[in-house]
Every structure is written in C-alpha cells, then in structure tokens.
Amino acid sequence: MRLERRDSPAAALTLLAPLGAILAALLLMGLLIMLAGGDLLRAYGLILKGALGSRLGISETLTRATPLILTGLAAAVAFRARLWNIGAEGQFYMGALAVAAFGMIPAVASLPAPVAILLSLIAGAVAGMILLLVPLGLRLKFGVDEVVTSLLLNFVAVLFVSMMIDGAMKDPLAFGWPQSVPVPDNAVLPKLLSRSRLHAGLLIALAAALVIWWVQARTVFGLRARAAGLSPRAAAFAGVSLGRTLIGIACLSGGLAGLAGAIEVMGVKGYVTTDLSPSYGYSGIVIAMLANLNPLGVIGAALFSAVMFVGADSMSRAMGIPSYIADVTVALSLLCMLVALFLTQYRIRR
C-alpha cells in the first residue's frame, strides 16, 4: 500500500472530507457518551442547540471564535512563510498585558473612546510583535530554530504576566487576587449584542482575515513571503530580502496574536489574569492547519472549533456528562479533520 500525491485536490473530496471528519468525530464522541450511559441522539441535538440553537449559544460561539480567528491567522501567516511561530500563546498574553499597561497611563482615561480603543489595539499588537521578533532575531543572527525558542517564550511570557499582575500592575481593588488593573472604560470594546458577551472584536477579526487574505494572495509582499518560506536560497537569488521579509511576517503574525490578547481583554474580560487564555495560542496553530493556511478558511475553522466546544460544553451540562467531553470532542474533530485534509491531497494506492 502506498500513498500518492494527487496532482490537484479532487473537488468533490474537498467538500466531502470535512463533512466526513465531523461525522467521524461525532461517532467517536458518541462512543464516549455511551460509555457514560448517555443518549446519543439527544446528545447530538443538544450540541447543536447549545452552540447555535439560542441567542446565548450563537453569541457565545461567536465570542469564542473571535480570538481563535486572530490566533489562527497569526499561525497561518507565519507558517506560510515557514516561520514556525509556536509562541502565539505568549504573544497573546503580552498583547493583553500591554493593553492593561497602556490603560494605566493617566492621560488615557481622558481620550475619546475611538482613540483610546485604537491606541490600545496598537499597543497590544506591538507587544505581540516584539515577543516574536526575539526568536526571529535569534534565527537570523544565530541560526537558532524558532520552534523551540518561541515555545519557550510562552512560559517566560506567562510567568512575566504573573509577575506583573502580582506586582507593579496588580489591581489594588482586587482583594489581593493576582490580576491587573482593569482597562479604562473608554478602551472597552462596544458590545454587538446586549445581554451577551459578543463584542466588536469579532468585526476586527473578520476584517483582519480579509486583509490578510488579500495581502497573501494579491500583493508583492505576500508573494515574496511565500517564496522566502518555501526556499530561502532561491528567494534570495530572486532578490527577496530574507531578513526584511521575515521581519514583516513576524510583525504581522506576532501582531495578530497580540491583537487577539488585546481584544479578549478589551471585549470580554476587562483585566488580565494568567488564565485569560484557554490555550487560544496553541489552538490557533491547529485552526490554521485545518484551514490549510488559507486566511478565509481560518474563519471557518475557528467557527467550527467554537461550535464544537460551546455545543459539547453545553451538552455536558444538560446531560450530566463530565464536562471534559467538550475538549475531547474538539480534539477528536481536529484529529479527524487533519486526516481528512490529508486524504484530499493524497490517494491510497496498492
């Protein structure tokens, strides 16, 4: 038995494969639900209902998808240029912390809201960029592989956040809890829907996906970035400045991850804690992969992942099944989807 690469992905499969993957994941999850003695069909119904069946479900799904779109984009942009940014988690936290720090500047409170929001977003993005420029600099200067350095910096970043919110940035009104001072009211993102958590960050994320798609598919920078990623040597021969291109990519990727953190703080939580992210940075990598590194696909992959999580979480509550089933379901969908995507690109031959 051999695997053979298809010349071009089969169109029908491209549509069918994700459906097959979702089906497979749901079946596997079904086994686990039956293990817990639950009623399968009811469980499936509840997942759909929990994620999409109510105003609350929809708003929660979209709220969860928002940071995932941004971290997914961060990974997609970087991976396409073969910049292995595994550090989105740390960049996310630095972005969040930067927004809180920016809000501590006394003058900020008197800014008009749009300005305060814009500047806060920029602060978050820049912080994310800086954190990714470190591993990139090490790669360009010393040839250090960025997979491990960016991964390591995640822990440094989270510990740094922990230190700051326990020290200089600790909220004196938080009863001793290690959390940062809240972002000022004028830097809080407006809600899209009252009585929900859905906020304007979703629009920013969607716009970012469109812009990134355009940059990658249509611009000189996008073309050069891909060339630099696929073959640094050939790109250099064609006059692409490797350093400059990668720095651009790093700014974009780190910036997006930082933005995700900034938006989460400004739209949802209001202040920084060390449990701000349920692994949004790592999930972004998986989402980017599910989307085949296509920025528009990232929107779909993030929504899918959010639906599965919110739906399964809600189902577990309604059925009294251990709530860990939500994470199991998401993980199973991801693994199945990876295999399905593979099958669209390869055929198995005897």
Partner: protein, 313 residues
C-alpha cells in the same frame, strides 16, 4: 547570604531536586528518543497526563505499583502509535498533530477519570512507592540520602539515562534511530524501513512520557487530579534542546530545572520580596541561551519534523 548557603548545603534541597527531576527525566528521555528519530512529539503534555491517570487507575483498581507504571507506559505507547501513524505514515504536520494529541489525551484522561471516580469530594488514594534506601550506599553522608534514598522509579529513571545513552551511541539500533533523524533516505538506502523505525521510536519515547506521568501519581503523590501535570511536558521539550539531544545532559538539564524549583520553594520560607516567577523563568531562559551557544554547531537532527515518503518528488 548565609541563609542561601544554608539552603544550598541542605540535604533536603538536593534530595528534592532528584525527586522533582524524575518525571522530567522520563519525559525528556521520551522526547529525546522521538526527536533523535526525527519526530517532534508535542503530544507529551497530554501523554503524561494520560499516563498519570492510567497508572493511578490501575493501582487503584487493585494492580501492583509496577503494573501501574507498565500500564502508563502502554497507554503512552498507544498514543505514540497514533502520533506515529499520523505524522510518520501520513506525514501530517508534527506540531499540529502533537498539539492535537495533547488536547485529546489530557481531556480523555480527565473524562475517563471522572467516569471511573464519579463524584468524589476527596479523591481516592493509593499507597505510593516508598523511598527505598539502597543498602550501604544510603549511609554515605550527604550523598547517601540525596542519591540513594529515593523511590524505585527514580532509580529506574537514572538507569534509563544510561541505557538510552548506550542504545543510541553504542548499538546498531541506536545508529539506525539517529540516521532516521538525520536522513531517512539514507537509512532506506541501507535497507532499513525508516517508517517502522520512526514509529517504534515514537512509541517507545511516548511510553517513557507515560511513565513520567505515572511517577506523579504513584510516587510524587498518591492520587490523580485533573490538570496535575501542570506544563511539565512542555518543560521536557525545552530540556531536550538544552541537552543537545544527549541523554546525559538531559539528566543535567532536568536537574537544573528541578533545582530552580526546589530552591525557589525553600527561598520563599526565608526571604521575601523576590518574585518567585523569576526563578521559574530561569530554566527557560537558560535553555534559550543554550540554543544560541550551540546553534552554530548545527547538531540538531537534520530531518527533525521532515516527513519521509518513499519515492515522492
């Protein structure tokens, strides 16, 4: 200053170092073996969690402690097989698959745990491994209690360091594993199937990770709790780099990390005002520095993260 020296000179500190280091040693050896064969295994965090759960559950269900370790190893190997099938046979992205496996293995472990122990307010315990003083050796002043008054899995970890070092650098199998990580095409040209070899290495490495997890529930503590692995797996990924893919140095790295942790805990009891986070950051920062120092020598397995597909252009 003398307080610091007191701490540094205390038996307790050094004994703790080895104890805290043990799960890291298992995990680091596991990652090292996978990476030597050319496969990055970011599934470690989840595999350790699963091993911790399964090992504990086995003993809780009446199994022997060593049976628990064995079960954890087998569970780890099973996830290793999954990782191997996806990354080696199908050639899927190693980071992504690894992260997916971490997510799956850990949430699956919690789920199974909750089904097995439905609603307990205080988790059931098992009788863990007790320290086993090595006759004679444990009497040596200072070194005795530090090195030779540990639980048996710690000794196992130390032995494994030597065994893995021997296997990798002295046996034909080790040479084949290293070649799979350097250039699988070359291995194939010598008549050894790199795919089977890689899968084998990933399974063996993952088994070690599972045992590292089981150490947490069967020796370092006596019951299983969700989230108890607490990032120890990621630390192992870093330690492998710090160790330049050598088992001996992996032990050193794990020791250094454990030292920072143990020292920090002891320092807290005597001095105030030093953010403990700084100590916890130290090992990561040191790993990055180590990377810079050795980057020029390019000892990274050259085919790390590169899938091997026979006869593909």
């Amino acid at each position: 200053m003398s307080i610091l020296l007191d701490i540094l000179g205390s038996v307790g500190l050094w004994e703790a170092v080895l104890r805290i280091a043990t799960p890291l040693v298992f995990g680091t050896l596991g990652v090292l073996l996978c990476e030597r064969a050319g496969v990055l295994n970011l599934g470690i965090e989840g595999i350790m969690t699963f091993g911790a759960m399964l090992g504990w559950l086995t003993v809780h269900g009446g199994g022997d402690l060593w049976l628990g370790m064995l079960a954890a190893a087998a569970g780890g190997a099973l996830f290793g097989l999954l990782h191997g099938l996806m990354t080696v046979v199908l050639g899927l992205s190693q980071h992504v698959t690894g992260l997916g496996i971490t997510l799956f293995a850990s949430s699956f472990a919690y789920y199974v745990f909750r089904l097995a122990v439905p609603t307990s307010s205080s988790p059931p315990t098992v009788t863990p491994f007790a320290p086993w003083p090595v006759p004679g050796l444990s009497q040596i002043p200072f070194l005795g209690p530090v090195l030779f008054d540990q639980t048996p899995p710690t000794y196992l970890a130390l032995v494994l360091v030597a065994v893995l070092g021997w296997v990798l650098f002295r046996t034909p199998l080790g040479l084949a594993i290293r070649m799979a990580g350097e250039n699988p095409h070359a291995l194939d040209a010598q008549g050894i199937d790199p795919i089977r070899l890689r899968i084998g290495a990933v399974m063996a490495g993952s088994a070690l990770m599972g045992m590292g997890g089981a150490f947490l529930t069967l020796a370092a503590f006596n019951s299983f709790f969700p989230t108890m692995v607490q990032g120890r797996g990621w630390i192992c990924v870093a330690l492998v780099v710090f160790a330049v893919w050598r088992p001996g140095r992996a032990l050193l790295g794990a020791g250094l990390f454990a030292f920072c942790d143990a020292f920090q805990l002891r320092l807290q009891t005597v001095v105030d005002g030093v953010p403990y986070q700084l100590f916890l950051m130290l090992p990561y920062v040191l790993s990055i520095l180590a990377l810079i120092v050795m980057a020029r020598r390019a000892r990274v397995p050259q085919a790390l993260m590169q899938p091997y597909r026979r006869g593909e252009r």
